[in-house]
């Protein structure tokens, strides 16, 4: 798994991946006006506060869209193609749409689900699959 394309984690992203290691999907939320924002950033665009906290979500949402990439691709993804990438609208805030992969269980490759079996609007739930000590990747299963 060392050849996976891993995210570089900057200051803005650190709390997300800390929560991920605990199996929690947390979203940056303004301490002043209580609105969630994504991707994480220093300032709330609605009230301009720079004070934020990371609120625990239920980790549930619905499939908003999906794609099935085919080659040419980066080498890490060539053997997996075609595979499934989904966009998930989060229940707590529909304007937050996580990009991720739909699987059956921990350890699954991202090509285990037949794309013809999925539909926009299906309910999904997150879990976190450890890739290494630092990165636990969010993956989604149908509920």
């Amino acid at each position: 798994m060392s050849e996976m394309l891993l995210p570089v984690i900057g200051d803005d992203e650190t709390p997300f991946w800390e929560a991920a290691r605990k199996g929690e999907l947390r979203i940056q939320t303004c301490k002043s006006c209580d609105r969630m924002r994504f991707p994480p950033r220093p300032m709330c665009p609605w009230c301009n506060s720079t004070q934020s906290e990371w609120k625990l979500t239920q980790g549930r949402g619905t499939i908003w869209s999906f794609v099935v990439p085919h080659p040419p691709l980066l080498p890490q993804f060539m053997d997996l193609a075609p595979y499934l990438v989904i966009a998930v609208t989060l229940d707590e805030d529909p304007k937050i749409r996580f990009i991720g992969n739909l699987v059956e269980r921990s350890g699954d490759a991202i090509n285990v689900i037949d794309p013809s079996t999925i539909e926009i609007g299906q309910a999904v739930e997150v879990f976190f699959d450890p890739v290494n000590e630092e990165i636990h990747m969010p993956r989604w299963v149908r509920v």
């Binding site: 394309l5 991707p39 908003w64 085919h70 991720g100």
Partner: protein, 379 residues
């Protein structure tokens, strides 16, 4: 006011091919010289330059090659394929406000033989960290996500995407300079093409091209002395809506209402020419669905009606609004949309290979899906 204060008086372009031998700097220098010849202006008179931030050739190198004089204005516009008309707009503003008198804009790019930008990065930093680790790697994947949603939301199908690809191809089949000049495309060809990122197939993707183009901008007054009829820059605008994310525009209230809408508001606000008056358009087409979204964003139909607008030859010569009359990025050449600018100028000069007879204005747009720009040209 910028309206009609400046004009494009010279255009030129290199051959288009999968691979050209000359360097990007040589190609850029050659097309700028050719555009100046087209305008009847000496290289030493060039005192303004505008280009894309993704352009590899610098003002310093170009000025040394073409033999420019004292330069008093040089600037760039960002966001890849969003830049084109914005670059022309920079020159229009600079000329209209006296910052320079003869401005050149250009794009020189060996995208055909020079490799794919997305193939380089082995880690997913910055904005890519929320998409690339999950296999959403390429611009095609990022736009495919919006396309699938569009199809679901509005009932569009691959037949509509096929309309776009085959309509633009027909235009290229009349353009001897187009890479796809001699390659006809049937609906079966489209439907049987290999996938790139479902729901997008090979023919929903632009070409991979080596090529260079340039244009020359001067004041409307000076344009009267140039050999070709002046093509006036009637209105020009950029567009960046709230909470936009470049290419991966998934984190706002309405991802299918992208930068085109913001750009169109500003464009038409300063324009005597409104959507109902436009009889030909060059709409940025790195991917076929961008034409459908742009038809909506620039006011040629309502939200969700862009797909049906392409039915029955709607965007072909003789249709409701002929689009990309030289073949566009899908079938002429993909040089970050600069070929759309030059084709807009040819339509206004009356020299297009697919001339729209009664066209007295032409809309040229940059990429929907990135911070964008657009210009209305008029005779």
């Amino acid at each position: 006011m910028l309206k009609d204060a400046t004009a494009i008086v010279g255009i030129a372009e290199s051959p288009f091919a999968k691979k050209l031998e000359a360097s990007e700097c040589q190609l850029a220098s050659e097309v700028i010289i050719a555009a100046l010849e087209d305008a009847g202006i000496q290289p030493a008179e060039v005192d303004g330059m505008a280009s894309y931030t993704m352009e590899n050739t610098s003002e310093v190198d170009i000025a040394k090659n073409i033999g420019a004089g004292d330069m008093s204005f040089f600037a760039q516009v960002g966001y890849g394929g969003g830049a084109g008309p914005g670059v022309v707009g920079l020159l229009a503003m600079a000329v209209a406000t006296g910052q320079c008198e003869v401005g050149v804009a250009w794009r020189s790019r060996k995208r055909g033989s020079g490799g794919r930008p997305w193939a380089g990065a082995q880690q997913a930093s910055a904005s890519g960290c929320w998409t690339r680790p999950f296999g959403l790697l390429r611009p095609a994947d990022e736009i495919a996500m919006l396309t699938r949603r569009y199809m679901h939301q509005y009932g569009a199908t691959r037949e509509h995407l096929c309309n776009v690809a085959t309509s633009v191809r027909k235009h290229a089949n009349n353009n001897p300079k187009a890479i796809m000049y001699s390659r006809k495309m049937s609906r079966d060809d489209y439907m049987n093409a290999r996938w790139i990122s479902e729901p997008l197939c090979l023919f929903d993707n632009c070409l991979e091209t080596d090529g260079a183009l340039a244009c020359v901008v001067v004041s409307a007054e000076r344009a009267k002395d140039c050999p070709h009829p002046a093509v006036y820059i009637h209105s020009v605008a950029q567009g960046l809506p709230p909470q936009h994310q470049t290419m991966t525009n998934y984190w706002n209230d309405d991802p299918l209402r992208g930068p085109a809408w913001a750009c169109a508001d500003a464009l038409y606000r300063n324009s005597d020419i409104q959507p109902k008056d436009v009889k030909v358009a060059q709409l940025y087409d790195a991917f076929s669905p961008l034409i459908i979204l742009s038809l909506e964003g620039y006011g040629f139909c309502e939200r969700g009606e862009g797909a049906d607008f392409t039915n029955d030859g709607g965007i072909e010569l003789g249709g409701r609004l002929p689009v990309n009359t030289s073949g566009g990025g899908l079938s002429e050449a993909y040089v970050h949309g600069f070929n759309l600018i030059n084709e807009g100028v040819r339509q206004m000069r009356g020299t297009s290979c697919n001339q729209v007879e009664d066209a007295d204005s032409c809309l040229v747009t940059a990429g929907e899906g990135v911070p964008t720009s657009a210009v209305i040209l008029r005779r």
